[in-house]
């Protein structure tokens, strides 16, 4: 029990004294999750809207596939992205393996089905009365689309938070595609895994605290925004 408490105390010291290695992992995590979330939201929200709003042949099957992809194993995504980005792979020439951008691609693939499926569910759950109201107030097709997205904003926010949680806490992609390179592609989660293997509990706990703090700050900010609107 003592080593856990010692680890916690050392973790606070590491954070307070601005340990370079710790902050490098924090910076890498923030950068890579920002890239992957931006990509998954930019692609996922419009695709989710189209899937939820339109009726087309095979819609049910597409929904089932997207829903299934929500539980993609991170190691499988890591493996596939590795295969594409390795020097022998189809995208090898771009030199993205063992880079933060490479990890971001994998994490965006992980987050995309979550954003699409939950946005589609949010849009589908909108009442038919919304369309009737918008059209009867004089909205054009485009205004109906924008206003429907705005009306579904809480559902889309929930989709984003869900995807962010998955991106922030995944290890498999960061480890396999990033290679866990110190000062370069080491993220908080891969660092925790490594430090625990080395028996460096203090660093692991310190990084764990930062991870939780990031998750808390982001969630708190979104709740604040939601309550304000």
């Amino acid at each position: 029990m003592d080593f856990i408490i010692d680890g916690l105390l050392q973790a606070i010291q590491l954070l307070l004294h601005g340990d370079g290695e710790t902050y490098s992992a924090v910076s890498a995590t923030l950068r890579v999750s920002t890239y992957s979330m931006a990509a998954s939201l930019l692609l996922g929200i419009p695709l989710g809207f189209l899937l939820g709003h339109n009726d087309f042949l095979w819609k049910k099957h597409v929904r089932t596939i997207v829903d299934t992809l929500m539980s993609l194993p991170t190691v499988l995504v890591g493996l596939l992205v590795y295969a594409f980005l390795t020097s022998r792979g189809p995208l090898g020439e771009y030199g993205l393996l063992f880079t933060l951008e490479g990890i971001a691609i994998g994490q965006a693939i992980l987050a995309l089905p979550i954003v699409i499926a939950l946005t589609a569910a949010a849009v589908e759950s909108m009442d038919e009365k919304l369309r009737v109201t918008l059209v009867s107030l004089g909205a054009s097709r485009r205004q109906v689309l924008y206003s429907t997205l705005w009306e579904a904003r809480y559902g889309i926010l929930a989709a984003s938070m869900n995807a962010f949680g998955r991106v922030l806490t995944e290890v498999g992609i960061a480890m396999m595609v990033g290679g866990n390179i110190k000062w370069h592609t080491r993220t908080i989660t891969t660092a925790i895994a490594l430090e625990t293997n080395k028996g460096e509990f203090a660093t692991g706990v310190a990084l764990g605290i930062v991870l939780m703090a990031i998750a808390f700050i982001v969630n708190f900010s979104f709740s604040f925004l939601r309550n304000r609107s």
Binding site: D127, K129, L130, R131, V132, T133, V135, S136, L137, G138, A139, S140, R141, Q143, S147, E151, R153, Y154
Partner: protein, 344 residues
């Protein structure tokens, strides 16, 4: 387009849901600045028709002309001119102010006037702008929400205002205010009103014309007696019949199917104080006068007669009512020619 072109002219308009016709109207014209009522049982196609008149849905077949021009959903001909208020209001997830200003913003114009216009609209529906303007959509009662939804339409001063059972799920105070506002729009701005309601007494008071719908079709102007099946062949085999709740027998000609619904046009029903001497091809029922109501527009008195759990209505010119021959509770006899029965 001529000066007297009706605001709506429908020809052969049909709307199908899963290949079942929900609306089937051969012809319908609605004059400009008129008040038209729409009555009919649930599922008779009223809301489907109103959604098409509001250009929210397009018909499966047929043409709807708006002021002589062909119009369809989102077309510039109608986008800012027709507005519909549904039975259950849907407010956008925004403040009351934002809900009412939404349509104004779509139309552009002077944004500095929005605040004044929103306050005026709130005042019309009897809500204080100071108290309600900043309220969120979820902080309103059902009646208040419906009034805000109406304010969001009134602020646009539409040429046509369509109300789909606007008072069905609100308190009496809100219902009264909604009715007054609709009439104000008609009187002050010349707005054409089309109102679906189960409150046919109110409709008969204010409407120039009341259309009755049944199974997607227009079956008359007023409250026609609808007789539901099943029908069984009579003893003579010449007619079909059905026993009413009080044991009386209703006779009809051979129906197209045993479950068909029969309508007896009210203008062919004859009312007597004594059992009539029947001519061949006629049938009578004994009933009791349930209600008398004045229709100021048409200058007629509507008489509702209950016979065996069935309501029949007919109209009598106001001047013929000077003598108190008819009063609620009086036993009467209604005679109809069997050949007049129409089937739906």
């Amino acid at each position: 387009m001529t000066m007297n072109a009706p605001v709506y002219h429908l020809t052969g308009v049909k709307k199908f849901y899963n290949s079942r016709p929900a609306v089937d109207i051969e012809k319908l014209s609605i004059p400009q600045s008129s008040i038209t009522g729409l009555v009919g049982p649930n599922g008779s196609g009223k809301s489907t028709l109103l959604n098409m008149l509001a250009f929210i849905d397009r018909p499966s077949e047929g043409i709807i002309l708006f002021k002589g021009q062909k119009a369809e959903p989102y077309s510039d001909t109608v986008r800012f001119r027709v507005s519909l208020l549904a039975q259950e209001p849907y407010l956008l997830k925004r403040s009351v102010y934002e809900n009412i200003a939404y349509g104004l913003k779509l139309r552009g114009g002077d944004s500095s006037r929005y605040s004044k216009q929103v306050n005026e609209a709130l005042s019309l529906v009897g809500l204080s702008s100071r108290e309600f303007s900043n309220r969120p959509w979820y902080g309103l009662s059902g009646g208040e929400a419906q009034r805000v939804a109406l304010a969001a339409r009134l602020v646009l001063k539409p040429e046509v205002l369509i109300l789909d059972e606007p008072t069905a799920s609100v308190d009496a105070d809100s219902a009264g205010r909604i009715m007054d506002c609709a009439l104000m729009a008609s009187k002050e701005w010349g707005t054409t009103l089309i109102i679906a309601s189960h409150d046919w007494k109110w409709l008969n008071e204010i409407c120039g014309k009341v259309i009755q719908m049944f199974k997607g079709k227009i079956i008359g102007s007023g409250i026609e007696g609808i007789l539901f099946g099943p029908w069984i062949p009579g003893k003579s085999g010449e007619y079909h019949e059905k026993a009413l709740a009080d044991g009386q027998i209703v006779k009809v000609p051979k129906p197209p199917s045993p479950e068909a619904s029969a309508v007896i046009p009210q203008n062919l029903i004859v009312l007597d104080l004594h059992p009539p001497a029947l001519k061949p091809g006629e049938h009578f029922l004994k009933g009791v006068i349930a209600q008398l109501s004045l229709e100021p527009y048409a200058q007629t008195v509507m008489i509702s007669i209950r016979a065996g759990g069935q309501t029949f209505t007919l109209r009598i010119p106001q001047e013929k009512m000077r003598e108190p021959v008819f009063f609620p509770g009086q036993i009467v006899y209604i005679t109809y020619p069997l050949s007049a029965v129409t089937w739906y």
